[in-house]
């Protein structure tokens, strides 16, 4: 009897962990790796595995799916809804907002940069949504850390970024105009 009770308790705790994972995936700007999840939620390998399994099962009934990419886990809308999305938000694929382009440009030209480097250069706080979109498009990745307080992650552009902009190498980016020149002509 005690055994059954414990098993039930264990099942509940796995269910709770899987909900915490779901929350973090919804809140994270970048995909989350297994290591990151284990570290942040203090999980053993087995707990993580079971919780991810529980999450997948819960998601089968939902409109989302758990996706594992090279850079980690993320939640995305199930593929069969893409016609609906394209019909109703046709512009979501093409239109890149000015804020997104500026952020991307700063990363492309100044890489590797941290989140706060971008904020410093643009003079405004960076919205989580923009970074998330750039990660989703696979145009940026986190690689390495800056050895300062908090060890912030360093952002780089990817080959997918080069592909999307028709470049074969970063050195094909248009040359950066000198800021003094811009100011003088404005």
């Amino acid at each position: 009897m005690a055994n059954v009770g414990n098993t039930e308790e264990y099942r509940l705790s796995i269910e709770k962990i899987s909900k915490h994972i779901e929350v973090l995936l919804h809140a994270s700007e970048s995909p989350l790796t297994a290591n990151m999840l284990k570290k942040q939620l203090l999980l053993s390998n087995q707990e993580l595995e079971l919780a991810l399994e529980a999450l997948k099962i819960r998601l089968t009934e939902s409109v989302l799916s758990l996706h594992e990419t090279a850079s980690g886990y993320r939640l995305q809308i199930a593929d069969h809804y893409s016609p609906l999305i394209q019909r109703i938000f046709p512009q979501r694929q093409e239109r890149l907002s000015q804020a997104l382009l500026e952020t991307l440009s700063v990363i492309a030209y100044k890489q590797p940069v941290t989140r706060s480097d971008i904020e410093y250069i643009r003079g405004v706080t960076l919205s989580s949504n923009i970074l998330r979109q750039l990660f989703d498009k696979g145009w940026i990745v986190e690689k390495g850390y800056k050895e300062t307080l908090g060890r912030p992650a360093l952002l780089h552009t990817t080959t997918q970024f080069l592909d999307a902009f028709g470049l074969s190498h970063l050195n094909e980016l248009p040359p950066l105009p000198e800021l003094s020149k811009i100011r003088a002509t404005s």
Partner: protein
């Protein structure tokens, strides 16, 4: 629907004019506080402006705004402001403007029989009105800050769109010109600041970076050694602010030396991080 955060620091109906230094509320300052001029400039920056500072003085003297004797407050304000030497003008433009207003009021009050014409406003009444209006907005802003706010108290759920290969069919190629144009636009962006031109002769961020670099590379150094001598007086002030900022972030610490450092220049600092 409006919701308030279930927090311990709700603004109550009475006006709370707490002094804050580096976001930490300070209940009381020592009665006869001597603040050295450089530090005073920094201290002033902890207020949202001269009205905020005046309100603090009023509160400190426990004065009813309607009964407020303008003269003692004015004198206190002017005494504080006179601590600022010419090197800090750019830090204190708004404060000096207020000082001139206060001097005008003081002059008015000291005149033996100030006959006010009907269309001329009583400057004292006007100042009290401004202070009251400001106090009202300040309280309102604290109430606004107590509301449940998106991206601080509650968070949007973010999910990705379906797989790129599924959506990719019509994914257009982008021109690299888009990138460079966005950077150019960023530089050209209209400056919303229309009234005054404030030139940072010595940018604070540059000083913070330089001091961090020096300390992390070379270990402990004195404040004097950290200065860029070409930056003059303003450089000293900005460097001091930079040191305070780094102390606040706990990146550096003050080294305890045997010799008492009674002058700022001998203050020795070391890298912690």
């Amino acid at each position: 629907m409006q919701r308030e955060r279930p927090t311990e620091f709700r603004a109550d109906d009475t006006l709370d004019i707490a002094l804050r230094i580096y976001q930490t509320p300070v209940q009381q300052l020592p009665e006869d506080l001597y603040i050295p001029p450089q530090a005073f400039a920094i201290w002033l920056e902890q207020f949202a402006g001269p009205l905020d500072f005046l309100l603090y003085l009023v509160k400190k003297n426990n004065v009813d705004l309607t009964q407020m004797q303008i003269l003692p407050i004015t004198e206190q304000y002017l005494a504080y402001i006179s601590e600022l030497d010419t090197a800090h003008f750019e830090l204190a433009g708004d404060y000096l403007l207020m000082a001139s207003t206060l001097i005008a009021i003081k002059t008015e009050l000291l005149l033996p029989t100030s006959q006010m014409s009907a269309d001329e406003r009583d400057p004292k009444a006007e100042l009290i009105e401004r202070l009251t209006d400001y106090a009202q907005i300040k309280t309102a802003s604290q109430r606004l800050d107590n509301l449940v706010r998106l991206e601080r108290d509650v968070f949007l759920a973010m999910v990705s769109l379906p797989s790129t290969d599924v959506m990719a069919a019509e994914l257009p190629n982008y021109s690299p010109e888009l990138l460079i144009n966005s950077l150019v636009n960023m530089q050209l962006q209209t400056d919303y600041h229309m009234h005054t031109i404030k030139v940072d002769i010595v940018p604070l961020s540059e000083r913070i970076a330089s001091i961090s670099r020096q300390l992390s590379n070379r270990g402990a150094r004195s404040f004097y050694q950290l200065l860029d001598k070409s930056q003059g007086k303003v450089g000293v002030v900005v460097s001091f602010v930079a040191v305070l900022e780094l102390l606040k972030r706990q990146l550096i610490a003050v080294v305890n030396t045997d010799t008492p450092h009674d002058s700022l220049e001998q203050l020795t600092l070391e890298w912690l991080a």
